[in-house]
Every structure is written in C-alpha cells, then in structure tokens.
C-alpha cells in the first residue's frame, strides 16, 4: 500500500516537474517580441578585466540614458559554461559575447538572431571578419573588435646581442638565425604558446591552413602544413624556440615580461599586459616573418550575439549599433587595447596608436579561426599534440587532425 502511494506521489511529482521544465526550456523559435516603451536588457560579457567591464558598462548606460531603456551588464566568470547553462535553461541574456570557437555551435543550434545584414555599415567590417561570423550565407552578428598576431622583441636584449633594426627577421631563416643568437643560458630566443592559435601563423606563412577557404574540407595533412610544423620542430630541437611551460611562464607575454624570452609571438592583448604588469620592459612589435608562401598571421574576434529567445530584438540591435559605432570602437580600443573591427575606425586607430600599427596592418591578410560546429574537440587535441611536437612526428600530428576533423565534418556533430 505504502509502496503504491509512494509510486503515485513520485509519478505526479515527476509529471509536475516535467511540465515545469518544458515551459522553462521553451521552444526553439524566436520569442514573442516585447513592444513596451521601456525595456530592460541584460548583456553578458566574458571580460578581460575591470577596464573592459567598466568600458562596456559606460557605453551601455549612455545608450540607456538616451533611449530610456535599462541595461544590466553581467561579467561572466566562465562565459562558455554560464551561457551553456542559460541557453539550456531557455533564458539566455539578450546580448552576449560569442567567441569564434562556440559561434558555429550556437548558430547551428539556432540560438543566435541573425541581424548582421540589417546593419547599413556591414561592409565596413573586413571580409575575413564577416566570414568568421557568417553561418548558412547569413551574416549573423557584428564583430566586437579584432586581434592579430605579431612578433614582439625585447629591445635591450636585441641590442646586447649586437643586432640592429635592419636585422628584424623578414623570413623564416632570419627568425631562426636571430632566435639562436638571442638564446643564452638564462634566456630563450623565442617563446611561443604551444597552441595552434599562436603557431598557426606558420601554417599560413607556409601556404597551408587547417581547412579550405569555405571550410568545406579539412586540409590539415597538406605538404605546406607538414613543412611548417617541421620548421617549428627544428627550432624546438635547436633550443631556439621554447614553449612557455618550459620556462615556467603561463603564456608568451609573461615570458617576455619576466625576461625569460627575447621574442614572442602574441596578439595585441600583449600591449595591455605589458604596460600594466611589466612597464619597465622595453619591446618592439614587428610583423611575423614571411614563410615560403609569403606573409601570414591569424585574426581573432568575438561578436555581439543577440539571443533568438530575447524578447527585445529591436532594442538589442539598437544597443549593438551603439556598441559598434566607429567612435565607440575607438573608445573601447583606448580602454582595453583591442583593435576596432570596422575598417573606418581602424584607419583612425593607426594614427592614434602608431605603436600598434603592425597589429592593425595584419588584419588585411589575416586568417580567421575555424568555425565548423563541433570542431573545437579536434583543435583541443591538436593543441595537446603540438605541446609534444619536440618528440613527435609532424606528419602524424597533422594526419590525426585530418582524421578527427573529417570525422566531425562527416558526422555533422
């Protein structure tokens, strides 16, 4: 008797909860739009620090004052995880940062409102950036800013080694030569993160890349890529190149700042870290050296995603427009050292920040990240393999990436 009563109770409780759940999870389509005069929006950001949080808050409250709406800016501790939970729960923030690694997953899951084509100034974003945030021939979301890779050199060590400005490396051979020259007992000539995000520049300079241009084929095991990794491996075995962990640093910038590295390859986020953490270390940023196939660098970006389930699409787009005016982009650039994503703003930026011109110039020929849904796990494995490059076979690493990547493309997962 008691057993049966218990069973009924739990069944009822289950039914009740399921009903509760399904109303929470909601449907997949766009939400019913709110047409009230005053609306309240939530913006979730994955902030690089207080400078970024405060700049976004200031821009949001200026817009709120102007339009009479209210905006709450939430800096996330772990954006991917918090967004994952919010999307699964059916109540995502109205506007949020979407990194290129998760962009394809969100776009495929129909979580993003594709508003890019509504922007009158959409052609002011470079083609590479628009490509990075397009899905199914639709320009989904506006790039927030951009970053590219360049070579940073410790000027004091450079002089000490008897090198001049004329010696700034132009080719792979130059790079190898100076890296060996700069390597001493306590200093590594070149320290670069073992991630494809930093080493990927070599693939590009060699004429290869992980996928073809429209990301319909994996081209990881191409001869050009093998060539690039063989070159990197050579630098590693000569001791001219080291990974940050080998010199007890967290990333290339830390190695440069703590003077364990004479050179590093990093993006323009380096500028902010150097000026706040290591203001006394003098360094110079130069373009990445050319490989057999010429110049190559990588670009990174985040976009302003608008949730499909947001009930305030009109207000959301208006706020994103306010965030992406050329003037506001320059204000963000000043506040936390990112490159504007709009070409018109970039021209002004180069004049205002001549020391970051190298990064800005890189956007013209930079390779955007891979944005195939589910591809992150292949890239995570690639990063893990790259960390062991010194004792591994470049061909094997690339053919593993090829196999894993093809499996993802084929499975559509």
């Amino acid at each position: 008797m008691t057993v049966r009563r218990a069973a009924t109770a739990s069944a009822m409780c289950g039914a009740f909860l399921l009903a509760g759940c399904s109303s929470n999870f909601g449907s997949n389509s766009s939400a019913q739009q709110d047409t009230k005069g005053k609306q309240s929006l939530t913006v979730m950001i994955g902030s690089s620090g207080d400078a970024e949080t405060n700049a976004v808050k200031a821009a949001a409250s200026a817009w709120a004052k102007q339009t009479g709406n209210t905006v709450t800016v939430v800096p996330a501790q772990n954006l991917d995880q918090q967004l994952g939970q919010a999307l699964a729960g059916g109540k995502p923030p109205d506007i949020f940062y979407v990194g290129s690694s998760v962009f394809a997953n969100y776009a495929k899951g129909n979580s993003l409102y594709a508003y890019g084509d509504q922007l009158s100034y959409k052609n002011d974003f470079s083609a590479s950036l628009r490509n990075s945030f397009s899905y199914g021939n639709k320009f989904v979301c506006a790039p927030k800013d951009s970053s590219t890779l360049a070579l940073a050199i410790n000027t004091t060590m450079w002089k000490k080694a008897g090198l001049t400005e004329a010696d700034y490396p132009k080719t792979w051979n130059d790079l190898e030569k100076v890296a060996r020259k700069l390597t001493t007992k306590n200093v590594s000539g070149l320290v670069v993160d073992s991630s494809y995000n930093e080493l990927g520049g070599f693939l590009k300079q060699s004429g290869g890349w992980i996928t073809n241009t429209d990301q319909t084929k994996v081209t990881a095991d191409s001869a050009a890529n093998v060539n690039a990794l063989t070159y990197v491996k050579k630098l590693l075995t000569e001791g001219a190149l080291k990974f940050p962990k080998q010199v007890d640093a967290g990333w290339g910038g830390e190695a440069l700042g703590t003077q364990k590295a004479a050179m590093t390859i990093e993006g323009n986020w380096l500028t902010g870290a150097m000026s706040t953490d290591y203001p006394s270390v003098g360094y110079k940023v130069v373009p990445l050296p050319k490989g057999p196939a010429g110049q190559g660098t990588l670009s990174f970006s985040t976009c302003w995603g608008i949730a499909n389930k947001s009930a305030h699409h009109a207000a959301d787009v208006s706020l994103v427009k306010a965030f992406t005016t050329a003037q506001q982009q320059l204000a963000f650039a000043d506040a936390f050292g990112v490159l504007p994503s709009r070409d018109s703003a970039l021209t002004t930026y180069k004049q205002k920040h001549p020391q970051d011109k190298v990064f800005a110039d890189g956007t013209a020929y930079a390779q955007g990240p891979v944005t195939i849904p589910g591809f992150t796990k292949a890239l995570t494995q690639f990063d893990s393999d790259l960390a062991g490059l010194a004792t591994a076979d470049p061909k094997k690493i690339l053919s593993d990436l090829q196999t894993n990547g093809e499996q993802i493309l084929k499975g559509g997962s």
Partner: protein
C-alpha cells in the same frame, strides 16, 4: 521524503539518462523532441566505434585507473599509520598532531592545487630541494612520460621516447598496449601526491575513531600471551578495524574515480592528455564541445565503473574473511 528523493535524485538521474541517449547541443528542450534521439550511439562512440571520442575516453580511463591504483592504497596506509601514531598512548601533544594532520583536509582543494602548481614548477621548491641532493628534477607538469617506462628507462631496459614496436603496434579499445601499460605520467604523479596528502587527514579521523573503539584489554591480553607489537596489530587491531577499512577503501574508490578539481586547476588534461580523467572529460564534452549527450554518457559509464569496482572490492574483503572464520570454527570443532 519521497518528494525530496524524487526531486533531487531520481528525476535528475532519469533526465541525465535520457540526455545520454540524445544528440543534444544544449540549446533546445531535450524533452520536446527537438534534439535527435540517437539511442546508444553516444555509448558506442565511447566504447566500440573507433575515433577521437573513444581514444580520449579510454585515455582518461587509463589515467584514472592508475590514479586509483596508487592513491587508494597509499592514502589508506598513510591515514592508518597517522591514526596509529596519534592514537599511541606514549605520544605527547596528541591534539596538536591531530590538527596538523587534519589540516590539509580542511583547506580548500583549489587553494592547495594552486600551491602545488608553484611547488612543482620547473624552478619550484621541489626541484630546488632535489637539486640540493644532486638530482635534476623533471619538468613536472610538462612531462608526459609514463612512470613505468621512465623507471624502466632509468634501468636502461627501454627508451621512454621510443615505444617498443611489439607493444605500439597492437592495442585494445583504441589505445596501444604501450599506452595502456605506461603507468601514470610524471604530471599525474604530482596530482597523486596531492590527493594522498589532502585526503589522508580525513581518513585518519575515521581510523582514529575506530581505533579508540578497540578495547585496550584485547591488545593487553595479546601482549600478555606473548604476541609482539606487530602480531598484536596484525591479529587483533586490524581485524577489529575491518569494517572501517572497508568504508575507507570504498570512500577512497568513489572519490578517486571522480577526481576533477585538481585536474581543472592544475593541468586541464595536459600534457598529452595524460592527466585527463573521465569526470573532466565529461565537463569539457558538455561545456566546451556542447555535446551534452556524450557528456552524460561518460558520466553513466563512470557510474558503472565505480559500482563495479565497489562490488569487486566488497567481494575481495568478504572472501578473505569467511574462510578464516570457517577454518577457525573447524579447528575448534576438531580439537
């Protein structure tokens, strides 16, 4: 009671089980039919069909297996040793030692992991200490070599960098025998040391409580009968501790198969996936790859492993118990 159990236990488990049968990207309602039902596909990807998913999962199982095989005996022995030391009637300042030994257990594991990161840096305190006695320490967190091959390498039997062809060519469930037999990596060893150090305090308390329940008269009687300290410990104290031993080993098994926080803070699976554990893999499958179905499937396989291990352990501890009582009983009848 039923409502609470249903709400917090049965329902979430049922939901997770359902999710493990779906291909769900976490952006729709998994109970509305929007996510594809794929049956046992997620489980097959992890076990029978070759590919990256299976390779990663089997690597994580291998890592965790060696972790369990080292941590559980070490922490049980260490905590029992500490408990006996603190329980000794001759020692002074028992309260002080009890607190000191228990200290690592009350400290946040995130904080301890961070401290260990600094201790085991290439130029950290541990390597400085090793250098002092003339040993060049390894680069702890970047050394992916297996302990077994490294030790055999020191003896000159194998070269850790060059897998033996016979072992590397053949494999089982997507991993070569060379990989299966490699033992924990040097990086994993630091996490093992951390786990033993932080958990032994808690288990010491459990052992201590049990030791204080062992009647002093029994031990004294054994000593009077001419047993030495070891014999009295082996034949009087240890049998009295058997239920508690079972408890500690069970808790240890469950805790070690679920290791996550130390991996999350210290290594995120690096180097070369040798510190990847199923719990951490489940996390990345869900929140990085947005493949919640696979994440849930990993969690259920982990549950099955824990249950199987606990049952095996129970049978082992019970089997040793029963024959001895039976023989004693027989002996008593015949005499």
């Amino acid at each position: 009671m039923v409502i609470i159990l249903g709400l917090f236990l049965v329902l979430p488990i049922g939901m997770a089980l359902w999710v493990s049968l779906l291909h769900w990207d976490g952006q729709s309602n998994p109970f509305s039919g929007a996510a594809d039902f794929v049956g046992l596909h997620n489980y097959a990807d992890l076990s029978t069909s070759a590919g990256q998913d299976r390779q990663l999962f089997m690597t994580s199982v291998r890592n965790n297996l060696y972790y369990v095989l080292l941590v559980v005996p070490l922490q049980t022995a260490l905590s029992l040793g500490l408990a006996i030391a603190v329980n000794s009637r001759r020692i002074k300042g028992k309260g002080f030692f009890r607190t000191v030994f228990y200290f690592p257990s009350v400290t946040s594991s995130i904080a301890i992991s961070t401290v260990f990161l600094f201790l085991f840096q290439g130029s950290g305190a541990v390597n400085a200490l090793l250098k002092w006695v003339g040993i060049t320490g390894p680069k702890w967190f970047t050394d992916a070599h297996g302990l077994v091959w490294s030790l055999l390498g020191l003896l000159g039997v194998v070269d850790p960098d060059k897998p033996v062809a016979a072992l590397a060519a053949h494999g089982f469930l997507g991993l070569s025998w060379w990989d299966w037999l490699s033992g924990p990596s040097i990086a994993m060893c630091t996490i093992i040391v951390l786990a033993v150090w932080t958990t032994s305090g808690t288990y010491m308390l459990i052992f201590l409580a049990a030791l204080q329940d062992v009647p002093v008269e029994l031990e004294e009687a054994a000593l009077l009968d001419g047993a030495n300290r070891w014999q009295s410990f082996r034949n009087v104290t240890l049998p009295a501790l058997r239920p508690v031993l079972f408890l500690v080993i069970t808790l240890g098994l469950i805790g070690t198969w679920q290791v996550f926080d130390a991996v999350y803070v210290m290594s995120q699976g690096a180097p070369a996936n040798t510190t990847l554990t199923p719990a951490y893999l489940s996390y990345t499958a869900g929140f990085q790859d947005a493949d919640y179905g696979r994440a849930a499937a990993i969690a259920f396989i982990l549950l099955a492993i824990i249950l199987a291990m606990t049952i095996v352990q129970r049978v082992l501890l019970r089997d040793r118990d029963e024959p001895t009582t039976r023989t004693r009983f027989l002996r008593r009848r015949t005499s």
